[in-house]
Amino acid sequence: MTGIISLIQAAIVFGTVIMFGAVGETVTEKSGNLNLGVPGIMYLGGIASLAGAFFYENSTDSPKRVVCVLIALLCAVAASALGGLIYSFLTITLRANQNVTGLTLSIFGSGVANFFGGSLNKLAGGVGQISVEATSSAFRYSIADSVNLGVFGKLFLSYGFLAYLAIVAAVITQIFLTNTHKGLNLRAVGENPGTADAAGISVIATKYIATCAGAAISGLGGLFYVMDYTKGTWANDASIETLGWLAVALVIFATWKPKNVIWGAYLFGVLYWMYFYIPNLTRSSQEIFKMLPYVVTIIVLIITSLRKKREQQPPMSLGLSYFREER
């Protein structure tokens, strides 16, 4: 029983990281931009929040929790939106290829983040490991810490506020995309920008806003990873990158619907951590288990292409730049 509870807890924490990433990427892809820079954007969001929190905590003796949280959020959103802006400028204004630009953004983001992460570790001195305890604990503060509510508390109330914010973000995005005028415009741009343009929607503005806003949401995944998943530290390994690609996979898995992203994220979390809770696995067979999220995504991808249900297809103009002059 405790095994199952801790699996679910691990899955929810893991799922929150990729939920932010995937909700942001869904917004971006719905506008027709296939941004493969999600890992880079999450890196940017993570390192910016860490750096912001680090410098704030070092500047005062008694850092205020609210300020810590606000600074970290602001830095993450600003840095990742900036990543989205670079991508938008290159692909929308300069009409560069989306896949190549996205991959470059991933290289750039991981370079920037690990470069500054390593430097921050050095700056922090001492054990050579940066730690932003005040900010991290503010992000990790949960109701279950102070009130004992038994199993219910452990399962549902033992997470930092961002875990709930991720669900809220997914729900709002879903409502925005399906039930609002602006959301309809956004989807029109992603399906057929030529028609949208003729209908008087500004394709360029829509794509810019969707990509930057999407990037900002994805960046929160990086923030959550740094502040909650690794508890306010930095390690130069590629794990944010892996999670970033999983977020891209999740968008496909959810067939471009934020409501599916919610349960998909937790399912990926369970699949990812399952090996840890299955007894008597050798280390090599654990690795086979870790394939599951990717294999499941491939299967979903194949099934959606087989069934050809229109509401499950990728946005029609996904990955294509829009040239008004070539309509």
Partner: protein, 369 residues
């Protein structure tokens, strides 16, 4: 109210260029590279306070300072080039093979398996088996998404991307299986003492064989794409699938055949990485090169000779940045950052080669009345 509504012409218009002569195009690319280097210099200066020109000089030393360094730079360049050459036919066909990373890894796994289990074979036979098995492994990994693309139009960008991670986990599986010494979580150098299955040194140079193989592939691919019937079919499918069908080209067959070839060459890159360079296998055997090579192939417009220059530039930046990192006590992720900035600029510069920017007043000077 028959007044004419005068709509104002937009301040900036963008028009497609018919063509641009090669010299001008190269000039634009060169300029963008220069601007990128200046921006990087400013960043280096603002972070470290060191003279950026000195930093660039030490980058050069890092890449070509000694004979050994030059060979390592060369080794890594041909590695990147090999993957780029493998990707070229797929991309020319507009098949987004993002899965090179995985194809390299399975090629590497096949090679490592031969080195571990078939030690006793005669050398020539062992190399033949290694070559064939790495080709097959890469080709299988590449053709799976192609089969689904051809039959059901499954999105290949996302499919190949996922295949990378399946391959990475497969590599972790074999690393755990073959780990040596036990508990180290790495395979270690395979056949360290006997050097069975290692690329032999040609003319006393360790990595000359790598260079020879990749150069042969580069020339082959250039001719294949430019002068063969297959190459022509690839180009037509890439331009328009409907035209290809109309011309009687079997599109399914072309997609599958091309991805077999593309995957096989990426598999050979795995062979070179394991047998010719690292003599070990790990999840970082491909090390992101599969992604970098996509950028190489794209920027070179699938011309395999142009790829040589671009691969060299990227590897030079990497080696140089590592050198800066050690000399100035930074960390070597600076190289990814600098590479990213430079690639952004080169990608952006393509716009000015393909399009003209026309200002309102510039073109029709006085017709505002």
């Amino acid at each position: 109210m028959a007044e004419l509504v005068q709509t104002k012409e937009p301040l900036i218009r963008i028009a497609k260029r018919q063509s641009m002569n090669k010299a001008a195009a190269m000039l634009i690319r060169g300029l963008s590279l220069l601007v990128a280097l200046v921006i990087c210099a400013i960043i280096i200066y603002s972070i470290t306070g060191h003279n950026p020109f000195k930093v660039y000089v030490s980058m050069f030393e890092g890449a070509f300072g000694t004979q050994r360094r030059t060979w390592i730079t060369l080794r890594d360049t041909v590695m990147l080039l090999c993957i780029g050459v493998g990707l070229a036919p797929a991309f020319k066909m507009k098949f987004w093979n993002i899965g090179a990373e995985g194809q390299i890894l399975v090629g590497g796994i096949a090679t490592a398996a031969c080195m571990i289990y078939l030690k006793t074979l005669p050398t020539a036979l062992l190399f033949l088996v290694m070559f064939v098995s790495s080709c097959i492994a890469g080709a299988v990994w590449g053709v799976i998404p192609a089969l689904f693309k051809a039959k059901w139009n499954t999105n290949e960008t996302l499919f190949t991307l996922m295949m990378n991670y399946v391959a990475i986990q497969l590599t972790s599986f074999f690393v755990a299986k073959w780990e040596n010494p036990f508990g180290s979580n790495s395979v270690g150098i395979i056949n360290r003492t006997t050097k069975v299955g290692w690329f032999p040194a040609l003319l006393g140079k360790d990595y000359l064989l790598n260079v020879v193989i990749v150069m042969a592939l580069t020339v082959f691919m250039f001719c294949y794409l430019k002068y063969s019937k297959h190459g022509y079919e690839i180009a037509v499918v890439g331009e328009s699938v409907n035209t290809a069908r109309y011309a009687g080209i079997n599109v399914h067959k072309v997609i599958i055949r091309t991805m077999l070839l593309s995957g096989a060459i990426c598999g050979i890159s795995g062979l070179i990485a394991v047998s010719g360079a690292g003599h070990t296998i790990s999840t970082s055997t491909a090390g992101g090169r599969g992604f970098t090579a996509i950028i190489v192939a794209w920027l070179a417009k699938f011309n395999t000779f142009t790829m040589i220059a671009i691969s060299l530039l990227i590897v030079f930046l990497e080696k140089g940045a590592v050198e800066i990192a050690t000399q100035y006590n930074l960390n070597d992720y600076a190289s990814s950052m600098i590479t990213g900035i430079i690639l952004f600029f080169i990608l952006g510069s393509e716009f000015f080669i393909n399009y003209r920017v026309i200002f309102r007043s510039a073109e029709r000077g006085g017709d505002k009345a």
